[in-house]
Subunit: 247 residues, 6 copies
Amino acid sequence: MRIHVVNPNSSTGMTEQIGRTARSVASPGTVIDLTGGGTTCPASIEGHTDEALCVPPMLIQIRQAEARGADAHVIACFDDPGLGAAREVAARPVIGICEASVQIALLLSSRFSVVTSLCRSVPIIEDLVEKYGAGRRCRRVRAVDMPVLAIEEDQTTAAACLTAEILAARDVDRAEAVILGCAGMSALCARLTAETGMPVIDGVTAAIRLAEALAGMGYTTSKLGVYALPLEKPGGFGELSEVALRA
Amino acid sequence: MRIHVVNPNSSTGMTEQIGRTARSVASPGTVIDLTGGGTTCPASIEGHTDEALCVPPMLIQIRQAEARGADAHVIACFDDPGLGAAREVAARPVIGICEASVQIALLLSSRFSVVTSLCRSVPIIEDLVEKYGAGRRCRRVRAVDMPVLAIEEDQTTAAACLTAEILAARDVDRAEAVILGCAGMSALCARLTAETGMPVIDGVTAAIRLAEALAGMGYTTSKLGVYALPLEKPGGFGELSEVALRA
Amino acid sequence: MRIHVVNPNSSTGMTEQIGRTARSVASPGTVIDLTGGGTTCPASIEGHTDEALCVPPMLIQIRQAEARGADAHVIACFDDPGLGAAREVAARPVIGICEASVQIALLLSSRFSVVTSLCRSVPIIEDLVEKYGAGRRCRRVRAVDMPVLAIEEDQTTAAACLTAEILAARDVDRAEAVILGCAGMSALCARLTAETGMPVIDGVTAAIRLAEALAGMGYTTSKLGVYALPLEKPGGFGELSEVALRA
Amino acid sequence: MRIHVVNPNSSTGMTEQIGRTARSVASPGTVIDLTGGGTTCPASIEGHTDEALCVPPMLIQIRQAEARGADAHVIACFDDPGLGAAREVAARPVIGICEASVQIALLLSSRFSVVTSLCRSVPIIEDLVEKYGAGRRCRRVRAVDMPVLAIEEDQTTAAACLTAEILAARDVDRAEAVILGCAGMSALCARLTAETGMPVIDGVTAAIRLAEALAGMGYTTSKLGVYALPLEKPGGFGELSEVALRA
Amino acid sequence: MRIHVVNPNSSTGMTEQIGRTARSVASPGTVIDLTGGGTTCPASIEGHTDEALCVPPMLIQIRQAEARGADAHVIACFDDPGLGAAREVAARPVIGICEASVQIALLLSSRFSVVTSLCRSVPIIEDLVEKYGAGRRCRRVRAVDMPVLAIEEDQTTAAACLTAEILAARDVDRAEAVILGCAGMSALCARLTAETGMPVIDGVTAAIRLAEALAGMGYTTSKLGVYALPLEKPGGFGELSEVALRA
Amino acid sequence: MRIHVVNPNSSTGMTEQIGRTARSVASPGTVIDLTGGGTTCPASIEGHTDEALCVPPMLIQIRQAEARGADAHVIACFDDPGLGAAREVAARPVIGICEASVQIALLLSSRFSVVTSLCRSVPIIEDLVEKYGAGRRCRRVRAVDMPVLAIEEDQTTAAACLTAEILAARDVDRAEAVILGCAGMSALCARLTAETGMPVIDGVTAAIRLAEALAGMGYTTSKLGVYALPLEKPGGFGELSEVALRA
């Protein structure tokens, strides 16, 4: 089985870290096809604008990965940027790491909290959790208030801040599990679980495993409504991807 | 990996059918540990009372299966009877087939419908779907109005009725995917998918794959809140299961 | 009028206390038919498993009480265990003390809080309140974090802890009324009302009065959908209750 | 026990009919203190303006009835006009017939429909049902599209129209119970129940019984928040009611 | 363009202050037709009873203002009293200042808080915000706990209390904007914005501008359902307004 | 006042039509600064992918228009593509035509329906309406099932189809107002209003007027949370817009 994991931002350090996590959690026999955002993409995704800029190149990568034989796709950014569009352009299932970790949290606990990077992302994640139907079971979205790249660069400080928020989620929010709300926190998941004794859920791990499950079942995204292929039109995705696939 | 699949009712025909589906969809290397409800359980589960009667023996089976080495448990009845209690008594993850198929439907479509057996189960399933956070994305819960055991016995009639409802879900509800709302419909899933061209989701398949995903990640149910082990007390689960495990 | 009050757990002390409350609040002319859980039931109900174990014997007691002429039934446990199943097996109305106290709180206040026994029950009660449509009007579910039997045994400590939480509900949550979230707190209701000046609502009292109201109107549970009698089947409630009624 | 039943409109025919229903369903020993809207009130309540015009005189009647010893109040109009204000000015519990019938429907069924008079009232009642937390359990609000006074004057036609809608509620909506959405339909309740075999809920009956239950428990509306007495001020209720009580 | 601004209470000081704000924010060419509640109205609106008392005279004023040529109406009280009724009796659009400020807040921020006068109004405003569909985006309804007339009389103290709550909304609630929850706070809006650096939204300003926008588009309230003219009937609005228009 | 109206797609015919509507509804003194999507944008926006492709160039246009002195921005596509990102990059208010028309519909009616172009857009619009808090008041999202460009090219057929759906919204859905769910329908609004007698709301008109109202009040988007300026970073919006502004 071949899982395409795309880091939509242009930070190669983060792409590599995500790749390490993905390979370490994938089942034997699963090949990870790893891509990162090109240099025209923002170096990190912190808000709606960063999301918007990274999506068009990501859609091309998804189409290219499918041409290389991907059985499923994982979008490795916690804002799940372009998830709907990706489901339109892909024949295979597409999983966002926020949606994946929310689903896993719902299966393992009755109430959870999320810890993300910046405060400005809190309402974005609250809205995603609500959209995914888990608003009532999410106790709180917390932030360590560190930029994404700072988390990647200084994992020691990040771990300390995350530990504090995870313990607050347990003791103040009475959450039963915690979701790490940023792909850049993936490498810290095992350590945080060990240090806090809380079930800590990493979205990259969750999404890889859900992608394997969906691909293994042979399911594909429904093409009967919203997620039908984009219509052919001037300036549409068909033209764009044709050029890209020929390149 | 070892997945315990429990049919909470006492119909051995249905247990066997569920076992066949489970084995056919499990990943290579997954062992299916199949159990069915004892003779004190109802022959089918059609309403709250049937659910209530099947849960206590099922909890014992879960504890016993865990003693045999189960890595995860699947409750193979679409009402997800006893799911919360099962999560309390098990150390390993427990998946209900309704919750599992709702999660898969959310990943593959923007709107889905459910087709279940009896009309009297419609509000029960509506309530479950709402509880799982998918109320707004479920177009409609439909029923073929055949008892569970009739579906099992007369798969030809069942297939015809299900086809009609699936097409209505597509054309009237504008659903993009359909969930089969009864474990006894599992064997018909491939045929219905082929005949209707709709993505048709079977809960047993969905739950087996999610159980593999969760167990593969090494996750366990959070024991920090609602799903903590039942407290020891006279008449409590501890006493009950001790007797059962010695037997 | 004859009201059947069932304590689903096996604590005879609690059954007696519930009986005293029930008799003291019933209208003149109302006969309280009091039953308690048999020795196979847990001594207290603290979580989904305890609930599951107590329901099947309780359903038999409801059928037997109806054979003795009950005009309505009250399930005297705040988790409202088996309420849906009880409504299926009974011809007469069935009232749970959580649902009853939520309805009374909605009639007397615009916002209320609940104070229950253990922290682990908080999400269970939050979910019930939401299911009963009062989620937005419930400020908070609080817990004194005492086991049910400890509350029954040490009413002095319980009263002190409850007073503190009731005052916090008034001052911190700005609740206008408080619901006691455990049948074992019934005997403290008058004292807590007097000490705090808050409207304090006891579910046993609320349910008895609602049961009288429903029975007095001659209403019965609708048998046209979910609450129809359980279908006859091997291992079903029909067989079970026939044996019990002959005994 | 003394229950004040106020018909907020000025139709004396409807006031008398409500009085007959109230007296026929009240418990032995309950005295019905019946009042109707004065001649400055609209003859029927069909929309927000009619509601608004009837509330100030109704609040005076509530204060006067309390001075005469009322133990509880029933507002006998299905829009529940002035319910919040009435709870402010009354020391005793106040019950609206819409809220009361919704509560009873929730205790007797899992899904219900409402049948009201005019189509223009449908969104008003939908909003009330939602406000009372029952939106998800209300299948549909139907209308016979007859003005309130026409229903009162031509009960035969009204009964025929209501029967048709009740059967549609059962067969099309799959409702398990039906609420009559107008006080002027009270006298038809028994007949409609008999003719349709559906549980048909009349709000006057429901409210009288709930009022007895609340008064019997000795509960009063919480005065700790929204329902505190209106503040004294020029042009406020204090001045108004003082004049009225002296008159 | 002619905008009718009605202060439903009888405080002439507040009417004048609202008039000053209205005139200062209206577009050039907009004429403000200002009315205040007559002496039979409460001097301030703090709860459901005050609301109820002020509505019938306000409806007459709306009809009279329309006879004078009003193109739109603004109800300048944050409880939006009688908004539905006003939409029935008016041909032209009617805007409440709570609904208007909530709409503006939704366009300028992702999360907002409200600061109102009395604590007893908090649930009333929470319910309005929920009714207007913004419940999930409202972080908190706060109160300075000063009566409306005290705010008007002592603007210095009011400003200090409001500043404290606005800063708490920013720092504790993480609101991105704040709505002033009382017409009597209008005159403080510019000062509070300057002092706190927060976007502070005044409902009178918001409603005047929305009224201009609606009237400028030539839109009128839909008369096809709930907001149709009140039906003619004895004691109805037709009679009442005829008398008033002749006077 | 200067309002920037951007048509995010590359259809110049549609851009011109939107410009005609915008100019015809703007207040005297308002200058419309009209832009359309460049040739790299899709010719119409029908689904998530089309949305994604049009957003990055649109964000540049918003920044450029602001440099030209825009006081507010209108995104003239009913999917409100890039609305959140636009609010980040703009100092001035940004209005989407879906959000605007929903707000206007809420002020004029108690229940509305939407009529859009393609069926595949129905769930997208349902989700937007829900996000804007109007889910409960939207009776139904209907589609004429014509592609956007076909509507623009054949306005006669479009008008006939729209009339049929608007009448169905009135008679079947019992909607009191109808929103046109596509910018390409703007030119038909007056004709449809006249033909059907329904209040028909065009989003371009609604948004222009709301933009004038917001800009006239001097309000700007809150920069204290989600809508703060995008952070500076490699590949971020700062770099991109600097290049564009120099060009």
